[in-house]
């Protein structure tokens, strides 16, 4: 019984309205840039959550797909000549589907290992892709980077098309997460996260579920990369395929609550503006940034949303006896 709850619909509606209204309320380029990167990380963390949060497979190489998406945009512009304006945006669904399909064989191989080994395999994948970007000169122009068409958007509203496009990718990631969490795929992934061997013993198609989640997650990440490339105008391997992009998205997912639908977006919503604000207000911004993050993780190790949910549940039923009280919501489909 897949139900859209009133609270869930309200959350979705308010969030969408706020995201759409943001450029009209805060129109200065500086705030718009922060808004754009915040939404980009909301999309990246939510897409990462599809695999890392739901199945427990911590990919640290998702920036590879971000970079592949960025290079796909640039290569299409340079070698095929799709033109400028809004056309690069129209290419994004093709990039998303293409990268998702291309990631299937990678997923089949990488997802044969678990835990720390999987994380190492995905990091290795990231550096392989980065090296390819450096060395496939005829395709990527190597270390000299690749240029995108100059967007013909007005100076005062330059960020808006990128911003709205990023919002669309974020909402697509969020909807995908919701559909997964409340669907059979989510149930399979949650079972894998809890005890993969047991799941296999109960007939769960573990490889199939993991590869589907991996591919969809990769496709959404690549779409965000495509928008970023067009916005930046010029891309280099070390920035397009940057480990810090993945690490940022993973930290945000952990902060907000990995495995929840809204947690990763919440984490991004807190960390990206905080990072920007701290960077301008103090030279010790990285220390402050780390301190904030450490404090939250020490107080709420499972992330903000699960911790808050547990706190509310504990207040509602302070004497919860084992096996007696139902959980406030099944944790697998936590919002």
């Amino acid at each position: 019984m897949r139900r859209v709850t009133v609270a869930g619909a309200a959350r979705g509606g308010v969030a969408t309205a706020a995201l759409v209204a943001f450029p009209f309320v805060f129109s200065t380029p500086y705030l718009m840039t922060i808004g754009l990167f915040t939404v980009m990380y909301m999309a990246l963390a939510t897409a990462w959550n599809l695999l890392g949060g739901f199945s427990g497979y911590l990919s640290l190489g998702h920036a590879a797909f971000f970079g592949i998406g960025a290079y796909a945009e640039a290569i299409t512009f340079t070698h095929i000549g799709i033109g400028g304006g809004y056309r690069p945006f129209a290419l994004l669904p093709v990039i998303g589907v293409g990268v998702a399909l291309a990631s299937v064989p990678i997923g089949v191989v990488a997802l044969r290992v678990r835990a720390a080994t999987f994380a190492i395999v995905t990091i290795s994948m990231l550096f392989i892709v980065q090296q390819l970007a450096f060395n496939l000169h005829s395709l990527t122009n190597g270390a000299q980077g690749m240029s995108m068409p100059l967007p013909p958007f007005g100076v005062d509203t330059y960020e808006r098309p990128f911003y709205f496009c990023m919002v669309a990718v974020f909402l697509a990631s969020l909807l995908t997460c919701w559909a997964t969490a409340t669907g059979k795929l989510g149930l399979m992934l949650f079972a894998i996260r809890d005890d993969e061997d047991r799941a296999r013993g109960l007939g769960v198609r573990t490889t199939y579920a993991k590869v589907v989640a991996f591919a969809v997650s990769a496709g959404l990440t690549a779409m965000a990369g495509g928008i970023w490339a067009y916005y930046e105008g010029f891309i280099y391997p070390q920035f397009a395929i940057d480990p810090l992009v993945t690490i940022g998205a993973v930290l945000m997912a952990f902060l907000g609550g990995r495995g929840t639908i809204w947690g990763p977006a919440l984490g991004a919503l807190i960390l990206v503006p905080a990072q920007q604000y701290l960077a301008y207000s103090s030279q010790l911004y990285l220390v402050a940034y780390s301190a904030v993050f450490l404090a939250v993780m020490l107080v709420m190790p499972r992330g903000i949303i699960p911790s808050a949910r547990d706190l509310i549940a504990a207040r509602r039923s302070p004497r919860r006896r084992p096996g007696g009280e139902p959980a406030s919501t099944p944790s697998g489909v936590a919002t």
């Binding site: 019984m1 897949r2 559909a179 969490a181 409340t182 669907g183 059979k184 795929l185 989510g186 149930l187 399979m188 949650f190 079972a191 996260r193 809890d194 005890d195 061997d197 047991r198 799941a199 296999r200 013993g201 109960l202 007939g203 769960v204 198609r205 573990t206 199939y208 579920a209 589907v212 919860r320 084992p322 096996g323 007696g324 009280e325 139902p326 959980a327 099944p330 944790s331 697998g332 489909v333």
Partner: protein, 243 residues
Amino acid sequence: MTALLEARSLRKRFGGIAALEDCSLTVEEGTITALIGPNGSGKTTVFNLVTGYLPADAGTIEFGGQPVRRPEPARLYRMGLSRTFQQARVFTELTLVQNLVAAIQQPRRSLLRAGVGRDDRRRALDVLGRFGLERLADARAGDLSFGQRKLLEFASVLMGRPRVVLLDEPTSGVNPVMIEVMERHIRELHAQGLTFLIVEHDMHVVMRLCDPVIVLDHGAKIMEGPPHVVQRDPAVLDAYLGA
């Protein structure tokens, strides 16, 4: 009776230790077969090899008259062979209903369907009702007691409509009331045609419930027969008492 599950000449070594050596056993359809033996005799290793959790170094396995070339847990479950574990393994973060629904076989194209459909829930509640757990249907499995987890694990394997269930010490660590409940379920399901292979340390349970009884010692079968015969066999007594 026909052999439903047959293992021939199984061998498994862990480094220099031989867990199983030329071990053969047969589970006839419609029986409750016990697999007993002292600690370290290889009972759980047999389970792990037969259900594909560990690869055998040598030997063959047949299920339902068909050779199982490369045992794989998910495929065997779909074929009708499922198992429980000595330490009950449930999905602790999922509700009881979700635990059971996860064990229902789904076609590949069903990924986008609701996680717990109306029919799924009805079927899960029906099974939970039989095990006296329906009151906890929406509780997290991690909040259950050890005995309740054993029941939930047992209930889970039934969702795949198995032909044979391998129970690894179903009554260990649970109270006498729970032992009685577990026994009753095994009897009822057996009466409905389900075959069991049970590893059990409680000889009272074995004597009451099982026939035949297979005895392992040092990774090999040393005796097989009705419980009252096995109970008096000198080789079995020797293995247990370590004379």
